[in-house]
Symmetry: C2
Subunit: 110 residues, 2 copies
């Protein structure tokens, strides 16, 4: 499966989630899979891309149709429980930036 | 050194660069270091965060003060040469999304 999201024409939104993991899994992998599956079912979800390096630093860019979809996902009950565990167990630190994508292009369409 | 960028208050811009590397280095590591160094010297550069997983898929989120700084960096002569090598040698594919960051928060400031 391609790690690249297939996205519609701009504009849309991106949530840039940068995080440093704690050591050990502590249920993280299963929860991350479950949350991605759940996110895909939310209204306005467009796609997600993610990478994490060997030192535990990772970036997930999740794409959404609009701000309302992002706010609704942040308040999803199951997601709220995962966010709490994230702060308590899985992340040493994270930063979130919410941005409006204004233009986009790929390698073959400069 | 922290992998997290220290950014000013919103608004600012992010260039989300998602890429799949080809196999082998072929001068990539040295050029990536040189380009990051050069980017840091450009007007409007605010910070950069990046992660690449073991399969070669990576995300670099580069933060800039405004669109004009992003356009100027894309047209920088040394960067143009690196972009050409990127398309020819280093990347199987990449996608770029340019977005205006409207709000941001960290783990300790929900």
């Amino acid at each position: 499966m391609s790690p690249f999201a297939r996205l519609p024409s701009t504009p849309y939104y991106v949530v840039c989630f940068s995080s440093m993991r704690t050591r050990g899994d502590h249920g993280y992998g299963d929860m991350a899979d479950a949350m991605e599956e759940l996110a895909r079912q939310q209204p306005g979800f467009l796609g997600v891309e993610g990478a994490r390096d060997a030192d535990g630093f990772g970036i997930t860019n999740a794409y959404w149709a609009d701000e309302a979809s992002i706010v609704a996902w942040k308040r999803n009950v199951d997601h709220l429980a995962a966010q709490k565990l994230g702060r308590e167990r899985w992340y040493e630190h994270y930063e979130v930036r919410v941005a409006r994508v204004e233009r986009a292009y790929g390698m073959r369409e400069r």
